[in-house]
């Protein structure tokens, strides 16, 4: 075996294809001091690689990662709840309208100014002095029995 081939084989040691020194390489190493030294350095290198790069203790990354999270997924994650709530509210309003609640219809609901004029019209048609009587009659006798008498 030539030195060039031997060194190539040495470099492959430590990988999966070469489990141990083959006899050709072993013979070469016993007869070539340069390659034998190369082999010793290679063995030392494998030891270095296995043990000389310890990972130091790191701080806990969780707080900083959580702080850097975009808020969008959380918002979209809860969006379906808001969607369901909106559909339920709209459904309830629709049912109320369809069941004939005129209070939902803008045309049938009397406005406050309309209500005032209706009352004025009604009162103007009464004979003089009866407005007071009309007022008293609207007060429940149970709530103010003394005045009603």
């Amino acid at each position: 075996m030539r030195c060039r081939a031997a060194r190539k084989r040495i470099s492959a040691l430590g990988g999966p294809a070469y489990g141990a020194l083959d006899s050709a390489l072993s013979d070469h190493l016993s007869s070539c001091s340069g390659c034998a030294e190369e082999y010793r350095r290679h063995v030392a290198l494998l030891g270095y690689l296995a043990s000389e790069m310890p990972v130091p203790p790191f701080r806990d990354l969780a707080p900083s990662v959580l702080a850097a999270l975009p808020a969008r997924r959380v918002a979209w994650g809860n969006a379906w709840r808001w969607g369901v709530a909106a559909v339920l509210v709209l459904g309830a309003l629709s049912v109320g309208y369809l069941m004939g609640g005129y209070w939902f219809s803008p045309s049938s609901a009397p406005s406050s100014s309309g209500m005032a004029s209706t009352y004025q019209e009604a009162l103007s048609g009464l004979p003089s002095g009866s407005v007071e009587i009309a007022y008293v009659s609207t007060v429940s006798p149970a709530s103010n029995p003394g005045e009603a008498r």
Partner: protein, 199 residues
């Protein structure tokens, strides 16, 4: 769910909760996997703050991917893939790394041994930083992280044969680069260092 229960839950469950916006579950995942992510990033990049930046980016991408995550792919492999790609990407864009600015003590009681170990680490890291990125990543994954050649090939998106070639060239370059340091090592350390991985 209580913190203890979260810590005991498997990855698939935690990912499902993370996908629905569960921050507690996500924090438990980070705490479970951050060391593995940081180890690859630190050994490849050689810088603590850069490693933390990459790890943070890895976990942010995990958060984004969580709603689409399928439990048939193990989470550690998914995280390793993200880490390797982000590290290579960063090295492609960034300045060439010169040297780790801080080298962690090994905790040895012997100051002289500690000094020697620190020198060796410094020399090893300097030699590693001079390797091309693919060779360096192959060395980190195979020799330091203990992955198989097939796994490394999957992560580097190449063939096992190509990984063997990368490793062989990297070892040859490191051996040449570290010549004096390696020759000065005591025989006992050499013998201890050589163990043929059965992969």
């Amino acid at each position: 769910m209580a913190p203890d229960e979260l810590a005991d839950s498997d990855d698939a469950l935690l990912m499902a909760r993370t996908g629905r916006g569960g921050r507690d579950a996500f924090a438990a995942l980070i705490r479970r996997h951050q060391r593995a992510v940081l180890a690859i990033a630190y050994r490849f990049l050689g810088d603590r703050s850069e490693a933390e930046d990459v790890a943070q980016e890895v976990f942010l991408r995990l958060w984004d991917a969580a709603p689409r995550y399928r439990p048939d792919k193990p989470l550690p492999a998914f995280l390793r893939t993200l880490t390797v790609h982000l590290c290579l990407d960063r090295r492609r864009k960034a300045r060439p790394l010169v040297l780790m600015d801080e080298l962690e003590p090994t905790g040895s009681q012997n100051p002289e041994a500690e000094l020697n170990a620190a020198e060796r680490r410094r020399a090893l890291f300097a030699a590693l930083s001079r390797l091309p990125s693919a060779q360096r990543m192959a060395v980190v994954l195979f020799h330091m992280e203990g992955l198989s050649v097939r796994e490394v090939a999957g992560l580097l998106e190449t063939s096992p044969k190509a990984v063997e070639s990368l490793l062989s060239r990297a070892r040859s370059a490191l051996r040449d680069d570290l010549g004096a340091t390696l020759s000065a090592q005591r025989p006992a350390q050499r013998a201890e260092g050589f163990s043929e991985p059965a992969r």
